[in-house]
Amino acid sequence: MMSITKGKDAMTRQMTGAKMVVEALKDQGVEVVFGYPGGAVLPIYDEIFQQNAIRHILVRHEQGAVHAAEGYARSTGKPGVVLVTSGPGATNAVTGLVDALMDSIPIVVLTGQVPTFMIGSDAFQEADTVGITRPCTKMNWLVKDTEHLSDTIHQAFHIATKGRPGPVLVDIPKDVQFATGTYVEKPQARVSHYQPKTVGDPAMIEAMVEAMEQAERPVFYTGGGVINSGPRASKLLRELVAATDFPITSTLMGLGSYPASGKNWLGMLGMHGLYEANLAMHGCDLMINIGARFDDRITGRIADFSPNSLKGHVDIDPSSINKVIHADFPVIGDVTLVLEEMLRIWKARGSKTNSAALKRWWGQITEWRAVDCLKYKGSETTIKPQYALQRLEALTKKYDRYICTEVGQHQMWAAQYLGFEDPNRWMTSGGLGTMGYGTPASIGVQVAHPDALVINVAGEASWLMNMQEMGTAIQYRLPVKQFILNNERLGMVRQWQELLHGERYSHSWSEALPDFVKLAEAFGAKGILCKDPADLDDAIMEMLNYNGPVIFDCLVEKHENCFPMIPSGKAHNEMIMGEVDTRDVIGAGGGVLV
């Protein structure tokens, strides 16, 4: 139904709130919604039923919906959209919201709510969703009037994607979905006053460039912000590294922005980062942080973090700057725009690096690299998890490949042993460390990239946390490969208990694991069991050649520890390697840290 409102030149459309939701999503260019129906969202599901523009993926648990949307968002750069019902639907989504908040992933979650006249009456499936999710979102809204619904949804997309991205939530009572109101088109919507600063201060950027010209031991330290800024940021970063010949390391979240095969690549830094990366951070005289936030997994002991360096920090979020580490060159802005400006100034000034000093610095780094910190003791009888990942890397390198992970040892090994050549290819739960992230994330990635190879590198314990999503994979014919490094342990918990709690392995293993092959078959997927290193390559090829979802049960060494490791509360130059005695490496001070 079309009508023209008086006094406004824009043509306005009247429709129900439920229809508005679908229209607004279309207006925003949304192609896929991950969701689960329930009483309070039935009108919206009725509208979804009557259209074909937006595809709905029925997950098996609302947490899975949010992680799938995260996988979709991280692998495409577009916001992920979730639709769930009130009460338990919303509370189940909370872990995913916090995960997206910690890792700055743009997610728009729409929740149903009991009708406005029942709010506060402890109605069936009522929860204070905006109250519960207020600290779990970048912004949230309860829409009490259909007239404001479409406008709020447009605002939600604006806020989720602008500035530092993050999750937002719109709570829509059922009567608001049924009532009729005026639809506001995207261009007419209020985008609110929220317009974060994206252009960095040129004078500060110039000062940073000047420091780069003089630096004797520089290092680029990059993070997820480079990836969030879009593919152009990665391209500019590569140009800048090529122009300066500085070494570059990255956080877990930033892997792929600079190619792992690039000659300046030091590997990941941090608690389980590479020896050369951490020592370069410790010994540098100039650190240029681009889109990272000095997380505690990165810094180790703050007092001894890179003690003799000047630090530049580029971040779109002003609160990230000087939060943990003092920045000598603070630049608030979007990574793409700041990198553009850095390159422009670098070229305009005809900048040259201190090449003699840089040569010495590279000589030092080459010595550190020669330590070969990722070496491990191989085995001919047992599959070492590192070996499994090395083989996976070798056999999948040439594919159009996306990797997801769960959380724990396998995640760190994946970050160490797999190489990422491009951004948006690596989906992992960094800030929150959410076990159960990988399976639904892999589904979200596969939905976005139906023809690509999508692998979830998992541990068996993490994998069990959202294994119900295999049902989703089967239903939508998503050929996700679940590569489970099965050590029958909570490996990282076990490692900490060994190092810190006198080898008392309190509840860090499961005595009742399922038969993963039978489980795969029960879901309708293919199950592969591999326990002999000699069979591994063939088994991986079998997984890759199967056109459908696979659960790969890779039985690995049960007591392997993840090294290198900066023990909690220690500095970068106090990292421990595999061979050393690891007893009492974590002092009383470090013991209380997580």
């Binding site: 905006v130 949230n140 530092r164 002003p318 000087n322 001070g589 209380v592």
Partner: protein, 186 residues
């Protein structure tokens, strides 16, 4: 130093902030925060303070621009300079927050609090209460044969001083608004 002998800076932004701030000077700052007057905005601001472990010594809020839907929150908070800076940055990045002013660093400002003080007293004490009220320019806004209610406006220190003088005179019941503050001049 904590019993576990954890050095300053061991952890800065995990939930377990074990740093000793003893060497750092704790400052008190008065912040004026202009926010969109919408549902939940106060909960959002308070949640930031409780969630990140910041102090609130006083907080007042009221709508100050009806047409523009703006409310002004005046917060008195304390922390090391680094913490105060974080508080401001964290407030500024909140979507419904329009402006954050640190009145303490932006120049001279006026800060006032209103209190209603009920004093239940007898005989000479009633006379003394009235005499002190006159010195403090407090108004009597309610009177019975057993009690007075005084209204006093001033700095928190003035209100504190008045209350302390009233206590020996009888039973004191107190309602305070918290601080409202605004910069001097234009």
């Amino acid at each position: 130093m904590s019993p576990l002998n954890i050095e300053k800076g061991s952890s800065s932004h995990s939930a377990y902030d074990l740093r000793s701030h003893m060497s750092d000077v704790v400052e008190t700052h008065t912040l004026a925060v202009l926010v969109q007057n919408e549902a939940g905005v106060l909960a959002r601001v308070i949640g930031l303070f409780s969630g990140r472990g910041y102090n609130i010594e006083s907080l007042t809020v009221a709508e100050v621009d009806r047409a523009g839907h703006r409310s002004r929150i005046t917060i008195v908070t304390s922390g090391t300079p680094q913490v105060i800076n974080q508080i401001k940055m964290q407030l500024e990045r909140m979507v419904p927050v329009h402006e954050v002013h640190d009145l303490t660093v932006e120049g001279a400002f006026v800060s006032r609090e209103l209190a209603l003080i009920k004093v239940i007293a007898k005989g000479e004490h009633r006379v003394e209460a009235l005499r002190i009220a006159e010195i403090f320019r407090a108004n009597v806004v309610d009177s019975t044969l057993q009690s007075f209610v005084f209204e006093i406006t001033g700095t928190p220190e003035k209100v504190d001083a008045f209350c302390e003088l009233m206590r020996p005179l009888g039973e004191v019941r107190l309602a305070r608004t918290g601080v409202a503050a605004i910069a001097r001049g234009v």
